[in-house]
């Protein structure tokens, strides 16, 4: 009894700094943020409580609604696009091709760039008077038009495209590692049974790769929620406010528009949304006891 008790407390003492950081730096600041969101704070936090009026204003704000819609559009296209593209690239590389490591490096390379660089590169490439459109027109195809960047209803797809260009390589690397782990016996067995290759991928390999897909999705999802720098560099929220995202809303109201109350309300809504999405997953992962264990 005694050594176990002692061990328990030693562990707690060793963990104490971590606990302090979690309690004060994470939970404490989260609670403080939520508290400010119920006040009428401008540049400085004040304790003049105004109930839910910041939240009312937030959901009455067209910019916030557009931001949330954009996040949904971006998120769906970005995650699905990266997974599909990354998987295809991984399958392509898994065909024992020549110069595989060179291709692997090329495909993974965009991920080494920061989003700011990606944003600038795509901004120049897609600028109608400088980039692709102008080049093709100079070649003689005068009526060629690719002006999505300057069209409010299309610009968010350009951002998703730039994001996919950057992150597909990461998905490829993860899935390629998974593909290499697939037992070669499985392939031989499938061949003996005369199953077409695409069916092996769809019905056998993809289920085996499920944990890899989950990892990639989690990584991509965090990139979606915090997307900020890509938008700032590529469109800065424009044309107009058509490519605004929630993180940019929060930063702008915090620092430029000097409205802490509204900014913290927006970040609280962001956090609640993330928690709502994560809660079922966390429950399944950590809290549901496996039936066979006890």
């Amino acid at each position: 009894m005694k050594p176990r008790f002692f061990r328990f407390w030693m562990a707690q003492v060793a963990l104490a700094p971590a606990w302090l950081i979690v309690i004060f730096a994470y939970i404490g600041t989260i609670l403080w943020t939520i508290q400010i969101s119920f006040t009428s704070s401008k540049v400085f936090p004040v304790s003049n409580y105004v109930g839910f009026s910041q939240y009312t204003r937030l959901f009455g704000s067209e910019r916030w609604i557009i931001s949330v819609q954009n996040l949904a559009i971006f998120g769906v296209i970005f995650i699905i696009g990266c997974l599909v593209l990354g998987f295809l690239l991984a399958v392509f590389l898994d065909q024992r091709i020549r110069a595989e490591s060179m291709f692997r490096t090329i495909f993974l390379y965009p991920y080494a760039l920061s989003f700011i660089v990606t944003g600038l590169v795509w901004q120049w490439t897609l600028n109608p008077t400088l980039g692709i459109q102008q080049t093709v027109r100079n070649w003689g195809w005068e009526s060629f038009t690719f002006d999505w960047l300057s069209r409010g209803d299309r610009a968010i797809y350009v951002i998703a495209l730039a994001g996919m260009w950057q992150a597909s390589g990461l998905v490829m690397a993860i899935l390629l590692a998974g593909l290499r782990g697939v037992d070669s016996e499985l392939w031989k067995a499938a061949k003996v049974d005369g199953i077409p290759t695409w069916r092996v991928y769809v019905h056998i390999v993809i289920p085996i790769l499920a944990p890899m897909f989950a990892t990639a999705t989690v990584l991509l999802a965090t990139a979606v929620v915090k997307v900020y720098d890509l938008v700032v560099a590529l469109t800065n929220g424009g044309p107009g406010i058509s490519t605004e995202v929630p993180a940019k809303f929060v930063i702008e109201y915090l620092f430029q528009r000097q409205n802490l109350g509204l900014a913290t309300a927006a970040s609280t809504v962001m956090m609640i949304t993330v928690l709502c999405v994560l809660a079922p997953w966390l429950y399944v992962q950590y809290f549901r006891q496996p039936r066979s264990a006890h």
Partner: protein, 412 residues
């Protein structure tokens, strides 16, 4: 005897040590966002003058106004304030005053006689409840129309004075195959254009009713609809390369003759001069089209409160130095702005500045900029709806009018 000499030497050393700090210059760390070529040349005037007056300027330049302000405010709140920091003239530092974090400048203002040379608009902008809290250093005007004189001449266009003339001129340029109006994609330049239209079409009274009084009825009036209609019509004269274009690139299109007109503040002169041209000659200026009204904007420096006596001395010296006639003339010549003192030699300023000064002299021909009158929050919301309207061709002027009315109705 030996002991005595030693003691004497020791005492001398102590005295020297004690005297050290008081002989050393008064250090002033100044946060500002003047980082472009012309801007840093201008801020160097401040540094040189302050050093010559016995201070020691410690430069803390941070690129980008928002970043600089955020850094400065964080340091003030965190208890480690800079000696001085820059804001735009207006409401940006209002909360700092309300929280009692800024030093009161009444002593310097009295000693230097600010009330004798500052215009009432500026005095009002830098004081709260009768006390001075900021040093205004320059006057910038936002509502200028710049045009390429050679391009207009080649197309037989007279410099326009009214909106109808401007639209006729831009139609001609469009037919000739040049960009009629160079516009940047940044939202603040779209708002700048919108404010120019309010002033030019609606005039001073409408502008003041909207921004000073937040008068929703004035926004719902037919006069304001005319403003949004004119603004909507301007959408047809930009080119499709706007998105991602900076203000100086837009001005550059006019300078290089690729575009006819550009609405931009008087800081555009820096681009004109950098291209080896003379403002008012190769690149002409119209101080407001339609109604000629001078928009008063600019920069100020505030001095965060401190208990440190040396820092207080440095603050007083800096506040004094920034407003001496010599500093004002030298600084503003580099910055492209107008001195805040009415009693200095203005004859060296360029033709465009002279036209502006004439308007500035008439109290009924100038307005305080929107930064003076409304909070960043309201102006930010305005920027959102104006930017959205500008880039969404299907949106009608009536919709824009209704959205602006909503902003001011909910902020009152």
């Amino acid at each position: 005897m030996k002991h005595f000499t030693k003691a004497l030497l020791g005492a001398a050393a102590v005295v020297a040590l004690m005297a050290g700090p008081s002989v050393a210059a008064e250090k002033a760390e100044v946060i500002h966002w003047w980082t472009s070529g012309g801007e840093s040349a201008a801020v160097k005037v401040f540094a040189d003058q302050f050093n010559a007056a016995g201070g020691e300027w410690v430069d803390a330049a941070i690129a980008g106004g928002e970043a600089a302000r955020a850094a400065g405010i964080n340091r003030i709140v965190g208890g480690n304030p800079p000696t001085a920091m820059q804001f735009n003239t207006g409401k940006q530092f209002e909360d700092l005053v309300a929280q009692g974090l800024l030093g009161n400048l009444d002593d310097v203002a009295k000693a230097d006689g600010w009330d004798k040379f500052l215009s009432p608009v500026l005095t009002k902008a830098v004081s709260r409840d009768g006390h001075f809290y900021a040093v205004p250093v320059n006057i910038h005007s936002n509502n200028w129309l710049w045009y390429n004189a050679a391009l207009l001449e080649a197309n037989k266009i007279e410099p326009p004075k009214t909106w109808d003339e401007l639209f006729a001129a831009m139609d001609k340029l469009k037919a000739a195959g040049v960009i009629p109006m160079a516009q940047s994609g940044d939202a603040w330049t779209q708002v700048l254009l919108f404010n120019d239209v309010i002033l030019g079409v609606g005039g001073r009274d409408l502008f003041m009713k909207v921004f000073q009084d937040g008068d929703v009825d004035a926004i719902k009036s037919p006069e304001f609809l005319k403003v949004t209609e004119t603004f909507g019509k301007l959408r047809n004269y930009g080119d499709e390369g706007q998105q991602g274009r900076q203000w100086n690139q837009a001005t550059g299109l006019v300078v290089s003759g690729k575009a006819g007109f550009n609405f931009m503040g008087d800081w555009a002169k820096g681009e004109v001069i950098a291209a080896g041209m003379t403002p008012g000659k190769e690149v002409g200026c119209v101080p407001g089209i339609g109604h000629q009204v001078y928009w008063i904007g600019g920069d100020v420096f505030v001095f965060p409160k401190t208990d440190n006596a040396d820092a207080q001395k440095a603050q007083a010296l800096l506040a004094h130095t920034m407003l001496t006639p010599e500093t004002q003339v030298a600084f503003n010549a580099k910055k492209g702005s107008v001195p805040v003192r009415g009693d200095v030699d203005m004859s060296k300023l360029d033709a465009c500045a002279q036209a502006g000064l004439k308007l500035l002299a008439d109290p009924n021909a100038s307005v305080p900029g929107s930064d003076f009158l409304q909070t960043p929050d309201v102006l930010g919301s305005l920027q959102d709806v104006v930017g959205q309207f500008w880039t969404t061709p299907s949106q009608t002027p009536e919709e824009l009018q209704a959205k602006i009315a909503d902003i001011f109705a909910s902020s009152n």
